[in-house]
């Protein structure tokens, strides 16, 4: 039983990690679109863009899920 719990927790850890990879990929592309890379640092505008990108993507996701649940009813 403990092994099952361990496997399950590793499993969900892995899903979170893969989501983080996909979100970083998508938001890095969106926040650096049509801009050259000029520094290894993130300025405050870039950091804000990344956080907003992630949160607005998750908002969109929730809106889509709720709308589809509404359609189903």
């Amino acid at each position: 039983k403990e092994i099952m719990q361990f496997v399950e927790s590793e499993n969900s850890k892995s899903k979170v990690q893969m989501s983080i990879h996909n979100f970083t990929d998508m938001c890095f592309k969106k926040c650096n679109k049509d801009k050259p890379i000029l520094s290894a640092d993130l300025n405050s505008g870039e950091e804000q863009c990344l956080t907003n990108c992630l949160n607005r993507f998750l908002d969109t996701n929730i809106r889509v899920v709720q709308a589809l649940q509404g359609v189903q009813k």
């Binding site: 863009c49 907003n52 607005r56 993507f57 969109t60 809106r63």
Partner: protein, 75 residues
């Protein structure tokens, strides 16, 4: 139970594709909150995507049926 898992998989794929496409189409410049204009766009985009999914489903099934009655027409 297999059919059920399939339905879940299918719904998940649909949610993921709609979210990705409508985020891309509607939210070019992500701000501290979604504007009413952006969320209106997401709703319209979602509707258009579902209708597109219906059109593609029907056309694809039709094409599969045609090609199975006339194999030279391919898949």
């Amino acid at each position: 139970q297999i059919s059920q898992e399939l339905a879940v998989l299918n719904a998940t794929a649909l949610v993921d594709k709609i979210t990705e496409n409508c985020f891309e189409k509607c939210i070019h410049d992500p701000q501290a909150s979604i504007s009413p204009q952006q969320s209106g766009c997401v709703d319209q985009c979602l509707g258009k995507y579902l209708r597109s999914w219906n059109v593609i489903s029907k056309s694809y099934i039709t094409r599969i049926q045609q090609s199975s009655s006339n194999p030279s027409n391919g898949i």
